[in-house]
């Protein structure tokens, strides 16, 4: 059976999943505006220490990204071979992204040792623990919901954030390249995501599980931004 044929068979289920994910995203995006660091960014009042704190905290989560994706890949059984190969490729594409954050940190005036040595904040701990736990289950198709939120951040918010940060703090491109890069590239990631969803969602239980994972990750990601430097 080809991928296209599967996509046509389960179109109503995939559409249902997209509707659920879209609603999770809308709630997530509108709630983010009330998180202090994002509220300051939106109001044009970000300080350099806010941005440094954001980078320092994000780095501790991003460094785990390709590891939990790889773990999820390793738990996808023979039925999900094509999906597994998408996961593996995605993990490879992202697995050194955290280094960009470290460079940005230094370019924005931070000290390299500080970002390398920082601990995960309370929210990052919760987010990371959930990711590894969920990825450790057999055939963890729900992880697509987790990826949807993380990739969505890159595609929809990273670019406008990077531009606002640059303008408000008078920084060069080399200080915001992580956010700018994800803003420019995650469009391709989302096309790949659509393909992965069409491969994975073959019953209602999986459709709902993907949306549920997205809802959990959206809340935990917001927690991570609320708990900056609370370690």
């Amino acid at each position: 059976m080809t991928a296209i044929a599967i996509a046509e068979d389960n179109r109503a289920l995939v559409e249902r999943t997209h509707r659920g994910l879209a609603q999770v995203w809308i709630d997530f995006e509108s709630a983010l505006v009330q998180v202090p660091v994002i509220a300051r960014l939106t109001a044009g009042k970000l300080r350099r220490e806010d941005y440094l704190s954001l980078l320092r905290n994000l780095r501790q989560q991003v460094v785990e990204g390709s590891r939990w994706i790889s773990r999820a890949a390793s738990n996808l059984g023979p039925e999900h071979e094509e999906l597994r190969s998408l996961f593996v490729r995605h993990a490879v594409a992202e697995h050194r992204d955290y280094r960009m954050l470290e460079k940005n940190y230094v370019a924005a005036g931070g000290v390299l040792e500080d970002i390398l040595g920082a601990q995960k904040n309370i929210g990052s701990e919760a987010l990371s623990a959930f990711m590894y736990q969920a990825a450790s289950k057999p055939d963890p198709l729900g992880m697509l919901g987790a990826m949807f939120v993380i990739e969505g951040l890159g595609e929809r918010l990273a670019l406008p954030w990077s531009q606002a940060i640059k303008a408000q703090l008078d920084l060069d491109n080399e200080a915001v390249s992580f956010l700018a890069y994800h803003g420019a590239n995650d469009g391709d990631h989302l096309d790949m995501f659509d393909h992965a969803l069409a491969l994975a969602v073959r019953d209602i239980a999986t459709a709902d599980d993907v949306v549920r994972h997205a809802r959990i990750v959206a809340r935990l990601y917001r927690l991570q931004l609320e708990e900056l430097d609370h370690v």
Binding site: R16, H18, R19, G20, Q23, I26
Partner: protein, 377 residues
Amino acid sequence: MQPVYVTATAQCLPGAPVGNDRMADYIGRLSPEAERLGRLTLRQNRIRSRHYAIRPDGGSDWTVAKLAGTAVRGLLDQVDAARVGFLASATTQNDLLVPGLASGVHAESGLPPIELASLQSVCASSMMAFKTAALQVAAGEHAAAIAVGAEFSSRYFRPGHYHGTATMRADGTLPGDAEFLRWTLSDGAAALLIEDKPAERGLSLRIDWISLRSFADRFAPCMTGGAIRGEDGSLTPWSLREGAPVAAAAGAFQLRQDVEALHRMLPVWMGEFMRLVDEGRIDPNAVDWFLCHFSAHSLREEMVKLATRAGCMIPEERWFTNIYEKGNVGAAAIFLMIDDLMRSGRLEPGQRILLAVPESGQCIMAYAGLTVVGEKQ
């Protein structure tokens, strides 16, 4: 609950249609640069004509109560006034600060003593009035109710409301958020009669459900009037300044629309659509007529993509609008569309109609499902 039906519709548009080239005669001229911004706005909203209750000399024979009252009289030509027990009015800005518009409309309408409700918001106030009237009949409180929406916004766009205020720049231009609305909104009224049984002859619209939701828990005010905006973005009500002249000089009495915030609301409005699909209220494939208080072309490409992926895009040939000829009449707009669709001769029994009314004020989204019943005449 008692099933309820829209059994008659009416509209009141003041004067002859005004084309784009003559708009400035009515709302007045601020500067050539302001008019250039106006042409840009018109290219985006694609409105070709509208109606104004204001005269080029700044005078008027109308009030918003008279516009609404005239639309209600249009209904009373079709039903015995004694049968109507309830009147709900909707508008953005009443003629008076006190009392409510429904009293003014009642006085103008020729209705005997009745129960009434004044709903004030922006575009979605129409759906508040619609739902209130429908519930009154559904609950058995009244056999027939009227919902009317009306706007007379052109009067606020005259140069006299801008000259000498902090809003007006030295070069005679306004900030985009103030100029945008001058070239977008216009005047008129429309009314619906809602009854506990279908009309004896012709087509009626059964009201299947009405949904309205506010998202003010996550959005700051985006379309405002009556406030002074501080440098930090905070809003002070005009009445908390030293006096009305001080507030007026600070530009408090001008309508403002943050266009950027409008774009941030689009996904939220669409998310409501998806929620209603998931709840089984909307079946996108079963909608024959989509009456939406914004146009398909104003949806950005990413929105169309999102809607399509989620199985929520209603094909453009099923969208019905009159905004290009009749303008954006705020709280009257959706009733105007229903009236024009009822008169179009294109409705068939059994067809499903979906109404959509977003409000940018502080983010509201309203939808309603109707079914065409009765026999085509």
